[in-house]
């Protein structure tokens, strides 16, 4: 018997175009930035410029705070990393390792659950 999956969709703003999927990695404190898994979807409150060197290793970005004009938008666009901003309480909504899909055009983040 195969497991069924369900999805939950969270809506924000599309900040940098493209589609990405991967496992969530949530930054909750300063130490968390030292262990970002390659290919993950980075979930942050704000993407500050000092985190830029981590971007080449991530597949996508989910940012809690958000408007079209903010840190995450500039950086993600420059690096070609799909990003959704304005996903409120993202760091509480998502757990490390959970499968996420980011639509950087529409700002939708799809959470896939295995039931």
């Amino acid at each position: 018997m195969s497991a069924e999956t369900s999805t939950t969709v969270h809506s924000g703003l599309g900040a940098a175009p493209g589609h990405a999927s991967g496992k969530a990695y949530v930054i909750r404190n300063a130490e968390d930035i030292m262990a970002v898994p390659a290919g993950s979807i980075l979930v942050v409150r704000v993407l500050h410029p000092h985190l830029a060197p981590l971007l080449p290793r991530v597949a996508g970005l989910v940012v809690e705070e958000g408007a079209i004009l903010q840190h995450a938008t500039t950086l993600a666009r420059e690096c070609g990393i799909p990003a959704a901003v304005g996903i409120r309480d993202a760091r509480s909504l998502f757990q490390d390792g959970e499968l996420l899909e980011v639509d950087g055009y529409t700002g939708k983040v799809t959470e896939r659950h295995v039931d």
């Binding site: 970002v36 410029p49 000092h50 060197p53 080449p56 840190h71 500039t74 420059e78 690096c79």
Partner: protein, 377 residues
């Protein structure tokens, strides 16, 4: 003491106006918090409409380092700004903003150059001047939370259909490239990120020099809270290199970097109507500032303020034998400027700070960090 009660009173009023913090635990050190406390006063010097007194400034910090934003003040300020934009006022705004940033960079370098040679009185004067310039840039940092959006709306209202004038290469993209170049240079000397982390600081003199120089150049990049480790700290950089480039294909990094180097095709503002051209120019500066707002103040702290504090600490130690250099971080800027240091007050503030374990954990601050940044560990 009376001043503290007044401050707590005004903070409580601000908190009552907006019970939920806009951001929690952003700044905990009393010295840095006191600069935020003065940002309202600094903001009134900027000359924006709707900011005629400190009470109009929409942001306050409480003693837990939580930032409160008064949405009704933001709305009033936004409304006042929208009807104020003309090419002339925009030019004034741009000149003042750019001037504040440049003046802070100059004051930081000047403080660093003069600190070693200065007498106690001069160090005090320089630290007050540097702090004043920091508060002005902090005020712009608070305004950056909504002024760019107002400018973008004004552009749309003026009929501009172009995409926002994002920087061609942001501060973050430059940092990414420079960090990757450091990684490559270390690798060329047979130091993989793993080896570098394992052996640091007992590495070859060449690699030690590479990392140290990188830290000097990139000082200023890091979290908003000064004591949270950032690029001024070689240990942080060595760990970050491992985190950023371990198991990452160098070609993938180059692809990301080449994406960042793409030329931005934007309509020239030369032919645009005067107001649109002015709005785009000013917004372009704000968007670049968004990437550098923390850098300006953090760099000023590490490059300019720390040498001044080290200079001042010697004077305090003569008066108070048990005084530690890091105690200066528990003074407010007005106390520092006046030469006031009450050991009991410092003890109380230090205790309150170290008891806030949630704050310390969020910012990655270990017990020895404050002594380390004052160069006294």
């Amino acid at each position: 003491m009376l001043d503290e009660v007044k401050e707590v009173g005004s903070i409580a009023q601000a908190a009552a106006r907006s019970a939920k913090p806009y951001r929690r635990h952003i700044v905990g050190l009393p010295l840095q918090r006191s600069l935020f406390g003065q940002a309202a006063r600094a903001a009134t010097t900027i000359g924006l409409p709707g900011l005629s007194s400190e009470l109009d400034f929409p942001a306050r910090l409480d003693e837990n380092g939580d930032l409160f934003l008064d949405r009704s003040q933001v709305a009033a300020l936004t409304k006042a700004l929208s009807s104020w934009f003309t090419p002339e006022t925009l030019e004034l705004m741009h000149t003042a903003h750019e001037g504040a940033c440049d003046a802070l960079v100059d004051a930081s370098e000047n403080a660093a150059a003069r600190a070693a040679a200065s007498l106690d009185g001069v160090a005090r004067e320089l630290s007050e001047d540097l702090a004043n310039r920091m508060t002005l840039v902090l005020a712009y940092g608070i305004l950056a939370k909504f002024v760019p959006d107002v400018l973008l709306r004004a552009l749309a209202d003026a009929g501009d259909v172009e995409s926002p004038p994002f920087p061609e290469k942001s501060a973050g993209a430059e940092l990414m490239q420079n960090t990757f170049e450091l990684y490559q240079a270390c690798r060329a000397l047979n130091y993989t990120p793993q080896r570098l982390q394992r052996e640091w600081p007992r590495v070859s003199p060449e690699v030690f020099h590479l990392v140290s120089e990188f830290c000097n150049r990139q000082t200023g990049f890091g979290p908003l809270a000064w004591e949270s480790p950032g690029y001024e700290d070689p240990n942080y950089v060595v760990r970050l290199l491992h985190s950023a480039f371990d198991e990452v294909d160098a070609e993938q990094v180059r692809r990301r970097l080449s994406f960042a180097k793409r030329p931005v095709v934007a309509r020239s503002t030369i032919d645009a109507p005067k107001k649109i051209a002015a709005l785009r120019r000013v917004l372009g500066f704000w968007l670049d500032f968004l990437e550098r707002e923390t850098w300006y103040v953090r760099r000023a702290f590490y490059v300019g303020m720390i040498p001044l504090l080290q200079e001042l600490a010697a004077g305090y130690r003569q008066k108070i034998p048990a005084f530690q250099p890091a105690d200066l971080l528990f003074l407010e800027i007005r106390e520092l400027a006046a030469g006031i240091a009450d050991p009991a007050v410092i003890r109380t503030r230090r205790h309150r700070y170290t008891e806030n374990t949630e704050y310390l954990s969020v910012h990655g601050v270990d017990p020895s960090r404050l002594a380390t940044i004052l160069g006294s560990s």
